[in-house]
């Protein structure tokens, strides 16, 4: 068995943040309030209270305290709760990259897919969002309805990865 541990994280409030107009001023307001910039496509950024993962050109997945965001967005965007639809799965250990290649089409083994990177991809026919926390940890955001099957798939696959 390869070195990867699959852990389901507790349910947490998640939101989709979409900006439809005045992107630059919104970004400026956000940076001033949050202390970090809105991450670019394929990236994530955050702090202990708030983490954003950009997964569409105008949409970010937001994890954490969103209380300040409606004020930042004003009429230029919206915040929608989506936490009920997602199960957060932590893949930890050196083998998480190898594991993500199982049934995968995204180059999770690339050294460029490093800490702070994110991706939206298909794994074994299921849409999954990935967020590299550090060299040994990657978070996968899995649709609730597929989470049971995906976790089983990953646990089974992990057994054979060294073969």
């Amino acid at each position: 068995m390869t070195d990867v541990t699959i852990t389901v994280l507790p349910a947490a409030p998640l939101h989709a943040l979409e900006i439809w107009s005045n992107a630059a001023p919104v970004a400026k307001r956000f940076k001033e309030a949050a202390g970090f910039a809105l991450p670019a496509i394929g990236c994530s950024d955050g702090n202990d209270a708030l983490c954003l993962i950009r997964y569409e050109p105008t949409v970010w997945l937001v994890e954490g305290d969103v209380s300040a965001l409606p004020g930042i967005l004003a009429d230029d965007g919206a915040l929608t709760a989506i936490g009920g639809s997602v199960v957060r799965v932590q893949l930890s250990g050196k083998g998480w990259r190898t594991l993500l290649m199982e049934g995968g089409v995204f180059d999770a083994e690339s050294p460029n897919f490093a800490s702070g990177c994110s991706a939206v991809t298909i794994i074994d026919h299921v849409n999954v969002r990935l967020h590299v926390v550090d060299d040994d940890i990657c978070h996968a955001y899995v649709p609730l309805s597929y989470s049971e099957a995906m976790i089983h798939f990953w646990k089974t696959a992990a057994l054979s990865l060294t073969l």
């Binding site: 989709a16 439809w20 009429d75 965007g77 009920g84 049934g103 609730l144 309805s145 057994l159 054979s160």
Partner: protein, 911 residues
Amino acid sequence: MINFSFDGKTYQAEKGDTLAAALLRNGIGLVGRSFKYHRPRGIMTAGVEEPNALVTIGDGGRSEPNTRATDVFVYEGLVAKSQNRWPNLSFDIGSVFGLAAPVLSAGFYYKTFFGSAKRWMIYEYFIRKAAGLGNAPTKADPDHFSQRGAFCDVLVVGAGPAGLSAALEAAEAGKRVILVEQDNILCASLIRDGHDRDGAWVEATQTRIRAAGGRILTRTTASGYWEHDLVTLTQRIAEPGQIPPHGVAQRLWHVRAGQVILATGSIERPMAFAHNDRPGVMLSQAVRTYVRRFGVVPGKRVVIATNNDDAYKTAYALKAAGAEVVAVLDARPAPAGADSGLPVYNNAVPLSTNGARHCLKSVTARVNGLTQSWDADLIAVSGGFTPVVHLHMQAGGTLDWNDTAQAFVPAASRQNVTTIGGAANPEPVFNVVPVSTPKKSFIDFQNDVTLSDVDLAWAEGYRSVEHLKRYTTLGMATDQGKLSNMAALGRLAEKQGVAIPEAGLTTFRPPYTPVTMGLLAGAGAKDAGAHVRRLALYDVHAAKNPIWQPLGYWFRPRTYPMGSETLAQAAMREAKAVRSNVGMTDVSTLAKFEVSGPDAAAFLEIICATTVGKLAVGRGRYTFMLREDGFVFDDGTVWRLDENRYLLTSSTGGADRMATHISYVRQYLCPHLRVSAINVQEHYAGIAVAGPQAKATLAALIGEEPPRHMSTVPAMIAGVPVIVLAASYSGERAFEIYVEASHAGPVWAVCEAAVAKQGGALYGLEAMEFLRIEKGHLVVGGEVDGRMTPHDLALDKMLNKAGGYVGASGLSRPALFETGRRQLVGLEAIEGNIPEGAMLVTGEGASPQGHVSAAAFRILEGGSIALGQLTDGFARHGEELIATSPTRGQMARVRVVAPHFYDTAGERYRD
């Protein structure tokens, strides 16, 4: 030593033996029977090109027919069985087909099996009995198959000396490298051929490749080369029939490579002469492989037949192993090999062999125009080398003719692929024209195609190589012509009087070697190709032992039987509970989209064909959506939750399609709108409470007056915030409660207790279907089948008169308003029960004028009813028709009515 069995008898093999090597080690020459004539066949090659030694490996669901004995490594307990023989391999009744060979020539099927359809029923029986070699297992495969993606800068296919060197160079240049080899060791050719590079060099090189981050995969075949340098690899984790570690037998790799280097080598060609298919006729390099790699000497008295220098290495290897080389038949006129110390005969080609079922006894040759024979138990032939250009061709590359090597070699590439080593530079050979009788000179051993079959096809007018291939079945079996194609091309060119490249070339298609179906299905092989989507409340339902029903990728409770109830009984009980009291069901799978922003209403009026803009906060409306051609493709409800926030629901089955549609409208048609449309299908679990007592039940739950029909309020149930929508699909007063899925459990529990307190029941999809049919509500995939306009479904009065929605232009086409269109109707049975899916006809033998899209029974009164589509149906109410399903032998007399059988005024769901 390793124990294995062949046809029920136990033998022993050495570690590292292929099954072919092990059989030869045990003196077994007869391994199989040929496809058509059941001729005795032995082992011809030592690689994946093997056409003869096809066996079934393993037992039960793990058995694998048509496995090449040369491509399976023996493991303890391996079970191998010969194929296409009865009652046994030595005495095969089917060999009588050989006596009929003169009439079983090319095109036999086309010339014989024609006539009336009734005759075909007879032919088919015999053709099916005779078809195929091994038998497919009848039990399910217990193993799993994995699929994995990989990316690399350089993919090297073939780990011979050239491939290994290329991989090392790339890896040490900092490239991400994958090196694949179909054998279980690297550089097996070095053992076969002897080389100044030895095993230590191989070991050191692969260590350096791995140290540089390279990945080396053995027992892995590059089976397909696709667009954009995507190469599929099939990796054997376990040998055929072997119990795999951790249950995974094979892995399919999808490799996207920056560059592909093909070091695939070449395949030795046989020679065409009479009875060249007997056990004891082998390819020269194969013989050398068995001698040097496996320590097995396949014959004691050996004749070598060649048109090149390479076969001399085989002669030396055999001599060194103690065999007697009685003759080297060298087709070249020059006195090559004069100093070899071997009995070399120049200008010599084999004419025929003689022997028994299990072995070879003698070889006859023409030497300088004279016939000469030798007693021999083995003939090792080398007719030249065919570069393995399959992947190059699959990648869209072209070939050049190399006259010196008498072979096609890779030329221009259309993708980033390069061929190196023996595949690019085959050894020079001398062109040999067959001189023996063509009737028994086989060129395609798998399909029993002889030179005379090619001659016959030519005589019957088949000029194109593609036609020749299909007429003779040449190159069509598991080996896909790896040994036969060049011989056939040579013969065709000879007939045409042209050079081989002018005769044409057939197409190389994936896979290079056979790929098992389970591998293509991957992990989904056990689940019909996809994961099952689980409801948020799955465990709650599972505890009640419902009958589950697949719905798209979902599984939903169809009904909750009590005691010994049948499905129909349980569903009817549940439906009656809804009609007379209160019922509760899980509607979580409905598509749901939260649409926010100042332009949300404008956006929804583009998505929906009904008006939305005037909807007050807290109100909802039934809506439907059109494709751009004006046909209805989904329906649902839209709710104004807040000033600039709406909830749009649509069908479960169309959820993904609707998400795509919304994204398309948002991104392409309306990028300017200030709106966000987020898919919240799974964010909210949904619980429907329906029935005359639903209002009272809900009032007790939320502690306030429930919203009136088509209104919505936020509320709290079990301390959890919920959204309550008052909407009815059943035809009764009903509510849908939406709650964040992660908190759905407590809400369901409280609701279920409240329903039970009222004397109500849970209901599933079957009862829901009864209810909605009786009420005349549509279902996407049933009445909404992609061919119906709003007018056909009597929804036209709800269309947004201002237009502007998707499909408005398409809907304006005059043809959509002409008579003769199918229209939604209701059907009442006059006699019999209406079969779902039945055709609607005016009388026996008449053309169908529509069909039954859904059928049920009246819930309280009884009687068979249905919804259907009928040509000009709106104008035919009162007409009597026949609903007939000939395939099921069912029929009912029906009366056309309005498609509403219950509470046509809609009074029951209004306060």
